[in-house]
Symmetry: C2
Subunit: 485 residues, 2 copies
């Protein structure tokens, strides 16, 4: 039984409520007395101080004020209209990007605490930028502090898995086209490299670097010119269609990739470029059903940035992992990280790999769940649940469960299997704590060693400590703004 049924029972007739030692219950059962067993977990991890904080943050005038703040944050998020407007070089377009700076997924982390796949990506980045001649040299340089590391999220950017962005890399440019103060705000993401040995999973073999060079020299300029010719693409609309076509926008992007391909191909063909070069671009996209992921992510980031900075709002605006730590941010306290250890992913492994090979959870891609799709739209993509041995019914149940920890739903993203209910959107830190219910994230699993790549896929949740810290910080923030008891 869940906390809900426990509450229902507590309102009904009751002889004895016993919590704790199992032998007592078994003894009662032996006498034939009717016994209801509850799978009850106290809110806030049972910590009395946090329970008091939660009570303050949910009840009375302060609770109502936070509800209003969350409603405003959600409204801003839903009003955002992320459009794909172009492709640029990170050094030229990402704010604050400069030579000697490498961006990475998740909260801040130094070389000495970096996990294998992120180290692998950094080695690849140093080779790609021509800063190192060999992987060994790259390791030495990285350890010596030759480059500075900062989170993508500090630069309006996101990246899947290792999420490495180096100055010479091409990036998608996503722009908010909503009327209002956020109009023109931009977010960024690299272009998806495809499957197999790729930098984002920590691979840095010569073929990986060669592909990245081709992407910078051929793919990105062609896509940029095609976009300039055809005009911006409405990503919120494209994602709405994809969610009706079996995608959840995180681990399944076949429909989104197909629809994007259709929108770009005619313009690509008209470019004044070698025919074979265009064919190679089209074949590259066609070969990778994850191509659209690197657009759902900056679209999600664009929408969530719109919700940042609403005083009192307990909405989660960032969930991100660097392979070592999981980091969380909330709308009321933009830029402030609440971190804890990155968790193990529960999932299925490719043949020849197992749990011992897996790196802990990594990547900025949890921005999709934060924005109300990915694992939160599982019911839109029942094919995904086969990955984790689940059923279509479980996919529906996951989406319904996530709806309990969100402030609202996104009416633009209707899920057919839920009779076109919108996807659960706007995780409320208070609800997570009160219901003891963590967000569900769909994710890939990286090998723990640099240079290997993906070894599986599955489900993961943030560590509790992130939410506990966020609750405490929100409480302190609310005390400043709302001093009355």
């Amino acid at each position: 039984m869940t906390n809900d049924s426990a509450r229902a029972l507590l309102r009904g007739p009751l002889d004895v409520l016993h919590a704790g030692i199992d032998e007592v219950i078994r003894g009662a059962e032996a006498t034939g007395v009717p016994v209801e067993r509850l799978d009850f977990a106290p809110p806030c991890g049972g910590d009395p101080a946090r329970i008091r904080m939660l009570r303050r943050l949910t009840g009375g005038a302060l609770g109502a004020a936070i509800d209003r703040a969350n409603a405003e944050a959600l409204e801003r998020l839903l009003a955002s209209r992320p459009h794909l407007v172009g492709v640029g070089v990170a050094r030229d377009v990402v704010p604050g990007m400069r030579d000697g700076l490498f961006l990475h997924a998740g909260p801040p982390v130094d070389w000495d605490r970096m996990s294998g796949p992120l180290r692998g990506a950094v080695i690849g980045g140093l080779l790609l930028e021509g800063l190192a001649g060999t992987p060994e040299q790259a390791e030495t340089l990285a350890a010596a502090g030759a480059v500075r590391f900062e989170p993508c999220h500090h630069h309006d950017a996101v990246g899947p898995m290792a999420g490495l962005i180096t100055p010479s890399m091409p990036v998608w440019i996503v722009e908010d086209r909503a009327d209002g103060p956020r109009r023109g705000a931009r977010t960024f993401c690299t272009l998806n490299e495809g499957l197999g040995k790729v930098l984002r999973y920590g691979a840095y073999a010569p073929e990986v670097l060669e592909r990245l060079r081709w992407m910078a020299a051929e793919l990105a300029p062609a896509l940029g010119e095609a976009l300039a010719a055809r005009g911006p693409i409405d990503l919120k609309l494209l994602l709405a269609q994809a969610l009706q076509m079996g995608d959840e926008g995180h681990n399944r992007n076949r429909a989104g990739t197909s629809l994007l391909f259709r929108q770009l191909a005619p313009a690509l063909v008209r470019l004044p470029r070698e025919r074979e070069a265009i064919a190679k671009v089209l074949s590259f996209i066609d070969a990778n059903d994850h191509f659209f992921l690197n657009l759902t992510m900056p679209a999600a980031k664009c929408m969530l940035q719109a919700a940042e900075g609403v005083p009192l709002a307990s909405l989660v605006t960032v969930m991100a992992r660097n392979g070592t730590d999981f980091g969380l941010q909330v709308a009321a306290l933009p830029g402030r990280w609440f971190t804890g250890p990155a968790q193990r992913v529960r999932g299925l492994y490719f043949p020849g790999f197992g749990e011992a090979d897996a790196n802990p959870d990594i990547g900025d891609s949890a921005i999709t769940e934060t924005a109300g799709f990915g694992g939160f739209a599982m019911s839109a993509a029942p094919a995904i649940v086969q990955f984790v041995g689940g059923s279509a019914e479980e996919a529906l149940a996951t989406t319904r469960r996530m709806r309990r920890i969100t402030t609202g739903a996104n009416p633009a993203w209707a899920v057919p299997a839920l009779d076109f209910a919108g996807t659960p959107t706007g995780i409320d830190v208070r609800r997570v704590e009160e219901l003891n219910l963590l967000p569900v994230i769909n994710t890939g699993i990286a090998h723990k060693d640099p240079g290997v790549g993906q070894v599986g896929a599955g489900l993961v949740s943030p560590p509790w400590t992130c939410f506990h810290q966020a609750l405490e910080a929100l409480h302190a923030h609310a005390r400043e703004r709302f001093p009355q008891p």
Copy 2:
């Protein structure tokens, strides 16, 4: 209550079973006696002779022999591997096609009994072939028997709506790649013209003919060359993917069109043709989410032809409409039509149109339901049920209901929302009669006047008389082959 629950009740305790006059029941209810009202309909339309025939065809050794025959027919259908192998001109590739012959959807029909949209298409065909200079001239010629009319189905072909195929039209060539005697068998369909004013809905304005001329001169050769360069496309596999992406393969083909587009684009770009010509081909496909329909139809025809000619088999192999008549064929009696009046479509109309504008049911596209998708895979495409004011739950219910009248399911076409159960496949005439349950067909609605076009979309079923005739013919056929009582 349904027939099923009626049967369950008849096995339970029962005081009185009363069928007929409502006053008697109301009288009984007034006394306080428990009354169960049944929505019971007798099998075979209540005709005692047909009920006896059905009993013979379902029970005993004959029933078992028909079950075996149907299992074989279904096995052949499921073993078929339709591949798109090329594009040709009807005159050159469709068996029996010749100058002066026009093929049309549905069972045979003469000019004087043709409905408006089919007449409109014939007028357009005469103009397109240069046999008439004006629509009036075309009507006079058609009425005078200047061209001969035969069903597409008599020439291994299918066509949506009017389904007109004239000798100069380009057609897709679909080929069975399964090992066995059917290997190399071919079916055919025209290329989809797009939306709005189009020949298949009976429009013949200059823009319609101009588009058809461009399709013959530019589109078809380009697609044919691209296919020759890249090799055949497995349509059964493509449809399997599309059914996991919100298509049902009849009224919704967005995913199939997108996936086909991805497969063709790289080869199209490499053709030694003007760049602008290729861009126009890509834009034409991209602008029409129904483009793939004209491939799901010949794929369905290919699979169903494989099931034809199995003695005793009561599986339906053709359902087709010409706008005046609905026609049915069964596996044991290939080529023999069982016809009845084409029905009104229950559906939603485009703004400005209503039931008074609608032509009765028309087109060969019901071949999709016959092969186990379209309306039978409604649960794969819940977006479709919005068309008819339904819910996702109703879509699931439709697929489950159709499973009751089919011999089996197609494991290659798994529906996520049904926990990856295959789509119901192989309509059994006996089950339709016994359960009083007609097949559900998703369809477009054509305006009743020539030259107007589509006015809506909805659901339709065959007229009962087709199944009654088929049952009687199967009974006569079984008597010849299986004379024992």
